[in-house]
Symmetry: C2
Subunit: 171 residues, 2 copies
């Protein structure tokens, strides 16, 4: 699995500043990751969401380990990935802020519930209702591996994208 080249094996990783500058060129959809359960309601904005496998139906979410929301979401063991639409820029900013309160941020939108009880956003491009199957900590972040129990699709909606540090839409 690991490189046999000792120079590559020992090379330092690039700095956080260079890494973030490079990653700004990887366009991504913007999502709200939400949860409710014994540890309380919580949510945050995430662009690091990706498909893992369709068997068993599994996606992953990368979450800041020390974020206010992450410990509660992990403790609840369930979450929704709400794929944001173009009109959700303000909601994205609200859930991306670390200073604005936890519960209050849910007042800016309409929500329902699917199987897990996690908040499912009205007007999302898609909603994935998930059970957290596994958590892997890497550096500052946790990777949440999530099994998908239900999905809602809105095939007419235009998704909100983030690219080169700005919101965009897809043609």
């Amino acid at each position: 699995m690991s490189t046999k080249d000792p120079a590559v094996a020992r090379a330092p990783t690039i700095t956080a500043v260079r890494y973030r500058s490079g990653m700004a060129h990887l366009a991504a959809a913007v999502n709200l990751v939400t949860s409710d359960g014994p540890a309380g309601r919580a949510g945050f904005t995430a662009s690091a969401v990706t498909s893992v496998t369709d068997d068993p139906a599994t996606l992953l979410v990368c979450a800041k380990r020390k974020g206010a929301a992450t410990p509660r979401i992990v403790a609840n063991g369930v979450l929704c990935v709400n794929v944001l639409a173009a009109e959700h820029r303000e909601l994205s900013a609200l859930f991306g802020s670390s200073t604005q309160g936890g519960e209050d941020r849910f007042e800016g939108a309409g929500w329902s519930r699917l199987m897990t009880g996690s908040p499912a956003l009205h007007g999302a491009v898609a909603v994935f209702d998930c059970r957290i199957a596994n958590v892997l900590d890497i550096g500052t972040h946790s990777v949440l591996f999530c099994e998908v129990l239900d999905v809602v699709e809105e095939p007419e909606r235009t998704p909100l994208m983030y690219f080169r540090r700005a919101y965009r839409v897809i043609e």
Copy 2:
């Protein structure tokens, strides 16, 4: 970490068909994942690439475990993530095909090498040159956790996107 609700804990995941239908609404950048080393040159098209953490600079790639390219890339222990530009649709299709040959597909484009020796695509939106730090198998796929040793950025290029089963560009 796991849900306390026994109905949620026992619920089946959605079918592969429903999962893929839902995932079609999660727009993503298109990338070529390439590698060279003792196990030979290999590459495949991937939209499941995401940032993990900037400390240490780490991204992840989800790869079909039984794909022709994946075992060679894992054995080499190194890879490049080449973020494709709008003009790379044919290259994306070539590297996404499981029937067209391994080595031949590299003849359709220009390449250079950074630190790891993996093929770095000329004209990419960005290239991340990586050492594979860890591999996690989940269902049909392997998640490759990759430490980033070098990055090249092309801030003028328009990225190629995939959304609702079609190539798109970002506005």
